[in-house]
Symmetry: C2
Subunit: 338 residues, 2 copies
């Protein structure tokens, strides 16, 4: 029968005394550092195994001043875009021996500030901040407090930190040029969350494509929406009923595009015959719905992995200047806007 010992955790000191060596020797074995005779190493390792000792990263962090943790801040982990990004981040983190704090902001800037502060108190080694909804000056203030950050879908105003960016202008332009090439001239735009940098950039591409084709820009055909199905449905419904002349809709992301699909069903407009619909991201959903959604493909998992590698570069060699990674989206033509 194993001994019933009070639920006190085994410490290095326990191992040391049990093995008849000093703390330092145990530490060296655990960290595989410094020269140790094979026999001592063996003996210590045996005791570690027998006692089931696990070093405390907390105690270690206090002295080394690093935690082996990073924070991942996203608006909403149940949005497939971010859950794929998170998977990419987590995959590389695991390979590199880091752990990831996942924080949802639910699109709320106050909550974003709160989690960022909490991450600071947890002394994370770095933060990947996705699609920040903070105002420029707030963002600046927050970034100033952190020693290593990588932004996703937004630039560091001070250019101190790197970013992983999608070429949204290009993506928006590609989508709208495609719609125009298929004969559409009345093209609406669901522009995404008001504070979304990506949304603003895609708007630039949208307008550029219109202008290049000599199509007048109708600001009232541009409407913000949340990046979720329900919001896409509502906003598209409203836009299409108010302006029945619209024949194509460029939607902020695949989710809002699917919402727009529903809106068309609600309104008895056929897709793509009456209204063509395009999304963005190419989340798995896009190919699965009917009609399948024309969209811009972003390699989401790779994006997450790249963001973490960029962050680790910054953490490990602080000389690394703000190096941005630009991801080029790829037009994927499907039935919703053939």
């Amino acid at each position: 029968m194993p001994l019933k010992v009070p639920q006190q955790r085994i410490t290095m000191a326990d191992v040391a005394s049990e093995a008849g060596v000093s703390l330092m020797t145990v530490s060296r074995v655990v960290n595989n550092k410094g020269e140790i005779s094979d026999s001592t190493r063996q003996r210590v390792q045996t005791v570690i195994n027998r006692l089931g000792y696990r070093p405390s990263d907390i105690a270690r962090s206090l002295v080394t001043n690093r935690t082996g943790t990073i924070g991942l801040v996203v608006p909403d982990n149940s949005n497939p875009f971010f859950s794929e990004v998170a998977r990419g981040v987590e995959q590389v983190a695991f390979e590199e021996g880091y752990s990831v704090f996942l924080c949802n902001t639910e699109e709320d800037p106050q909550r974003e500030l709160a989690v960022l502060q909490s991450l600071e108190e947890k002394r994370v080694d770095g933060v990947i901040l996705c699609s920040s909804r903070l105002e420029e000056n707030e963002l600046q203030t927050v970034l100033a407090r952190h020693s290593a950050v990588v932004l996703v879908n937004r630039r560091d105003p001070e250019a101190r930190f790197g970013a992983v960016l999608i070429d949204d202008v290009r993506g928006g332009r590609m989508i709208v040029e495609h719609l125009i090439s298929r004969g559409h001239r009345e093209i609406g735009f669901l522009s995404g969350p008001a504070r979304s940098f990506s949304g603003q950039q895609r708007a630039v591409g949208y307008r550029a494509a219109l202008e290049a084709a000599g199509i007048p820009h109708r600001p009232e055909w541009e409407r913000p929406c949340l990046p979720i199905v329900e919001s896409g449905r509502e906003v598209a419904h409203d836009l299409l009923s108010r302006y029945p002349e619209i024949t194509a809709l460029f939607c902020y992301n695949d989710l809002s595009a699917i919402g727009a699909l529903h809106a068309c069903t609600d309104l008895g407009r056929r897709v793509p015959d009456d209204v063509a619909i395009a999304g963005f991201d190419d989340t798995p959903l896009a190919a699965l719905v009917t009609p399948a959604v024309t969209t811009c493909r972003i390699p989401m998992t790779e994006l997450g992995g790249q963001a973490l590698r960029l962050l680790l570069d910054h953490i490990h060699n602080c000389t690394g200047r703000c190096q941005d990674v630009i991801i080029r989206p790829q037009l994927i033509i499907r039935a919703s806007a053939p």
Copy 2:
């Protein structure tokens, strides 16, 4: 992990000397604990703000022996079931002041063991372990090392920890009874990952429904699959080509059901006329594809929230014994199996 260059951070001592008080006074202000004169509190708070001091949870944890962190272990965060669960966990965690380490296992038991060990070294206050793929004895060994765990989709063999469970037997039975009531007698089953407890339970329900209807059980019509679209497609394709007499398929989850939908398209079998398809979970996808998927609804976000509450109960009052929460699934009939 190479060392990071230490950065000079503001400590409590800095605040104390700057404010002309002792460490303890600062500590009391920061933690809002003990009686302090308003004037001192004010003065200290001002210095804290001016210096931008942030308490170190690391140092705090070392002495309090709690970290305010929990681990969430899931097979795959990009599976919508788990990303919704994660969102529920994170929401409640935020409300309660906890931070969440997200760990994917990618269905790999070795990796599951690795992240569980890492979580232990991070000294998390508790772990939510979803859909563990460990063998019984491995699981037991791992659980023995942790002081607070909540299992999801599986029971603690030792009944030391609580679990949040879906009534999978019932769910499986409901689905299959529904199929039978619509006249199906040749019903195949994609049973999910080999080590999945849920899959095994749903199999029990599947067989029970068959037996109750006097339909002989054909073990060769039961096939494991991964909980992803591609695997559902492959396995369904194989099953349906080998046994063309099958007229209905009960699939482990919505993703594999969608894969089965594709397999039917590949094989030129119409859904639901030639083959009826049912899934499980009622992830948002299920309603979005065409035909929409008949499924069993699980309140995923609530499930995550409940799991965290159960965990916090266990952490805060260790007397609490293994209390399980059973979630009753709800049959959602849609076009894929009307």
